[in-house]
């Protein structure tokens, strides 16, 4: 098992390296000269040349890459082209809200979707199953911003149970922190509940036709016991896969929700950076997201090994 873990972790290293190179190349190949961007439309050719010299932009591409990789390795992500603040600090500021929102959404989605999927599988073809499946179609097809505004209208404006918008860090107290996450998390979790519940249902139904399920029944186990102890464990690998994919999609998809609920997270930061062509910030956020994806995949792979003793790469 230890060898398996070490192998998987080591295999993530070259992937991260490749990701960094691709991010670097994408920005170098995209149109627009950073020097012009910083110097502004009124800069003279001399000023631009001086800027290029000071930023190292006239050095060979490969040298630039190594300088940049070296800087990243030391935690230096450069400064924002717009505000002049260090990018690392900017991103870390915004990372907290996004992380909080993503985690609470995933936990909520998984906690709701797995029981729903198992119940639907158990009641296959009956009204409860149909209800869950119809709900899942809805959760999937209604856009997040509509769900968000509807929830705000009902639970914030009309009932007044939750604040309409905003975000408070955990340091401001757990209650203030949590109550502002409820509506955004519920909103964001809808499509993921729909997706995960569907995958759970399909896989549990498939596993329930296996011979070892019959063996478990022949032991005198209750149907609930069979579902929980034998079916779910065997259906776990595809379920974990889809949860991993969901987390990845989620982090990329917080932009809209953060706008609706006015949360100062990474999604908002990216939006602002793209509008202002703040390349260093964009670069760093892409790198951060990619790294997170790599680690999610790594985590999913390691979980496979834990869930199914037959899986060893």
């Amino acid at each position: 098992m230890l060898g398996f873990v070490v192998k998987r972790v080591l295999s993530a290293v070259p992937v991260l390296f490749m990701v960094a190179i691709i991010v670097f190349m994408v920005l170098r190949l995209s149109p627009g000269d950073p020097a012009v961007m910083i110097g502004g439309p009124n800069a003279t050719p001399d000023q631009l040349a001086a800027l290029r010299e000071s930023m190292g932009l006239n050095k060979p591409l490969l040298e630039q890459l190594f300088i940049w990789l070296g800087a990243i390795a030391q935690g230096d992500f450069g400064v924002s082209l717009v505000s002049g603040k260090p990018v690392a600090a900017l991103v870390m500021d915004r990372f907290g809200p996004t992380l909080a929102l993503s985690l609470s959404t995933v936990v909520l989605a998984v906690a709701v979707a797995i029981p729903l999927g198992v119940i639907a599988a158990w009641q296959q073809g009956k009204w409860l199953d149909r209800l869950v499946m119809t709900g899942s179609v809805l959760g999937f097809s209604v856009p997040v911003f509509i769900i968000g505004y509807v929830l705000i209208l009902i639970f914030a404006r009309t009932l007044g149970w939750f604040p309409v918008q905003g975000y408070k860090p955990l340091s401001a107290g757990f209650h203030d922190f949590a109550i502002r996450l409820v509506l955004p998390s519920v909103t964001l979790s809808f499509p993921y509940i729909a997706l995960i519940a569907r995958i759970v249902r399909t896989n549990v139904i498939e596993v329930m036709n296996e011979d070892y399920i019959r063996t478990a029944r022949a032991k005198g186990m209750t149907e609930g016991g069979v579902l929980m102890h034998h079916a779910l464990g065997n259906a776990a690998v595809p379920i974990v896969t889809i949860i991993g994919v969901s987390i990845a999609m989620l982090i990329g998809g917080v932009v809209v929700t953060e706008s609706v609920f006015n949360i100062p997270g990474l999604g908002r930061l990216v939006l602002e950076a793209v509008l202002a062509r703040d390349y260093t910030v964009i670069q760093t956020v892409i790198l951060l997201f990619s790294t997170i994806y790599v680690f999610i995949n790594l985590g999913v792979d390691l979980l496979y090994g834990l869930l199914d003793p037959r899986i060893r790469y």
Binding site: E210, T215, M221, T222, G233, P309
Partner: protein, 544 residues
């Protein structure tokens, strides 16, 4: 062989099982039989006879939305299980009635250890402490003669062999000492030697506990080894019941006579062919799976120093148990896998160095074990048959004519060309698979366990078909099988393999009737009922 009269454990009275919703012809009609303490009752029948469904009904394991018992009573120690509440049925399971299934490969949960799965039975039905349960499970593992029980306890199913897994399933079934054991084809998926051991184990445990056993099987060889009494079923009807001796030596019904007589004889029928030209010559073939590592050798030598020949019009059998390397050899001959060494000479040309396999493939065709999976379900029979011909450049009309002619060779009307595989029975599908191979007019046919998945009566017909095709086309056949009885029916020469090596080879009548090697001898001894001449309903000794 019968035991003295004792208490009736299971009484099936006039049971009818219907599909749900009811209305069509019931799949089991008015079946009645009793099983007593310590007695083994065999339910024998072909696929579709309702034998498995009957045993599932006793267990209350019929698929709820598809099948239901519509009449009769099933009494277990006098208690009607059909009237029992779901909670009571769960109580009865494992404590009073337990089941052993056909497929040990799939009957165990792959993500739980063997020990945990047996332990679960104790957790469900007893109040024993964890330590007591563990002790009991380890003791049970010893009783089913598993080695190194501490290691087996912690092993996952995929780390165990088929025979070991079946012992685990048996341990799981018998740990609470149930009154009745239902065994549904428990040895069908196992090698003959393993089968013999498992049959002996069931017998041994049954004698210790006075368990009543219902043994569902299609194999009269197995029946003759273990049955006290026999119930013969055909298409949902009970055909005949009687003691083992009565049914085997004096069956009253025609169907029973036919079923018993279909068991292939162990006496070899075919003489060696004359010195025809060699179609296939395998010389010192070697196949190594995996690579030799720098530090450790993780490779497996699946075949080594394999040499044999197949002449024109000859049927050569490769027999051996699973893991003996017989399929590896077949796959090498077809170049489905690349040999690691040696030569495979086909019609005078070594095919091992060949890079372009297309011209060679036309001369060697393969028939697979499972007729349900070897035909593409989305293609008509005609499309499947013609595909190969078209690939080799034949015009469509010509290909269709050939396909139709070949279908007649395998005794199917040419009209079936437009139908799909799911519209045929297993036996018909295997005929189609044979037609698909023969239509290419190959010089060599490789039949890999081609009759193993078929009922005995169908098996006999398909073996007959191979004979006819050989007689009419002069084709050579490499016949891979684990079944010595089948090999005795059809093979001119036999190659016996064990652990990747050839143990013995020669004319079928020499190898099977007077084996030189101890391993061949043990294989023949392990074949069920070697001493009974099923065709003539009498012991072999009198037949000779």
């Amino acid at each position: 062989m019968t035991t003295p009269p004792s208490q009736v454990v299971l009484s099936v009275e006039d049971v009818t099982i219907d599909t749900r919703p009811a209305g069509r012809k019931p799949i089991v009609r008015n079946i009645s039989f009793d099983v007593r303490e310590g007695e083994t009752l065999c339910i024998v029948g072909e696929s579709g006879s309702g034998k498995s469904v009957t045993s599932m009904a006793v267990m209350g394991l019929l698929p709820k939305d598809a099948l239901q018992v519509t009449g009769g009573r099933i009494l277990l120690d006098g208690e009607d299980v059909l009237q029992a509440t779901p909670a009571r049925i769960r109580e009865l399971r494992a404590q009073k009635v337990a089941m052993v299934f056909q497929e040990p490969m799939t009957a165990l949960n792959p993500v739980k250890t063997a020990g945990a799965q047996i332990d679960e039975v104790l957790r469900l039905h007893t109040n024993l402490s964890a330590a007591e349960r563990r002790q009991k499970v380890l003791h049970m593992l010893e009783r089913v003669h598993l080695p190194d029980v501490e290691r087996i306890y912690k092993s996952y199913p995929h780390q165990l062999s088929g025979g070991q897994r079946q012992r685990i399933v048996i341990a799981m079934a018998l740990i609470l000492r149930p009154r009745l054991l239902l065994a549904d084809e428990p040895t069908t998926a196992l090698d003959v030697t393993t089968q013999k051991q498992i049959l002996r184990l069931i017998k041994e445990l049954q004698e210790e506990e006075k368990t009543a056993v219902v043994f569902v099987t299609h194999d009269f060889g197995v029946v003759s080894e273990i049955a006290d009494r026999i119930v013969v079923m055909n298409r949902g009807d009970l055909v005949e019941t009687g003691t083992c001796a009565e049914i085997l030596s004096n069956p009253r019904q025609d169907y029973t006579r036919m079923l018993v007589a279909s068991v292939p004889s162990l006496i070899p029928r075919c003489v060696p062919v004359p010195a025809n030209p060699k179609v296939l010559e395998v010389v010192a073939l070697e196949k190594r799976y995996g690579k030799k590592g720098l530090y450790r050798d993780r490779s497996v030598l699946a075949a080594q120093n394999i040499s044999f020949t197949v002449r024109k019009g000859e049927i050569t059998g490769i027999i051996g148990e699973s893991g003996s390397g017989k399929s590896t050899v077949a796959r090498c001959v077809m170049r489905l896998t690349d040999p690691s060494g040696g030569a495979i000479v086909l019609n005078g040309h070594d095919i091992v160095p060949l890079r372009n396999l297309r011209p060679m493939r036309q001369h060697v065709q393969y028939i697979f074990q499972d007729p349900y999976r070897s035909l593409n379900p989305r293609r008509t029979i005609g499309q499947s048959l013609m595909e190969g011909l078209l690939n080799y450049g034949l015009r469509e009309t010509e290909a269709a004519r050939k396909a139709a002619a070949t279908l007649e060779l395998v005794n199917l009307p040419a009209e079936v060309m437009n139908r799909y595989p799911h519209q045929f029975s297993g036996g018909q599908r295997q005929r189609i698979a044979i037609a698909r191979a023969v239509v290419m007019e190959p010089d060599l046919l490789i039949a890999d366990e081609a009759v193993s998945a078929l009922d005995v009566t169908v098996q006999a017909q398909v073996l007959q078909l191979f004979e006819e095709i050989r007689a009419r086309t002069g084709i050579s056949i490499l016949f891979i099988t684990h079944d010595l009885r089948v090999a005795a029916q059809i093979c001119n020469t036999i190659v016996v393999m064990q652990d990747g090596r050839i143990v013995e080879q020669g004319a079928a009548r020499d190898v099977l009737a007077a084996p030189v090697q101890a391993y061949t001898r043990s294989l023949i001894d392990a074949a069920p009922a070697p001493d009974w001449d099923f065709q003539n309903f009498r012991p072999v000794s009198r037949a000779l």
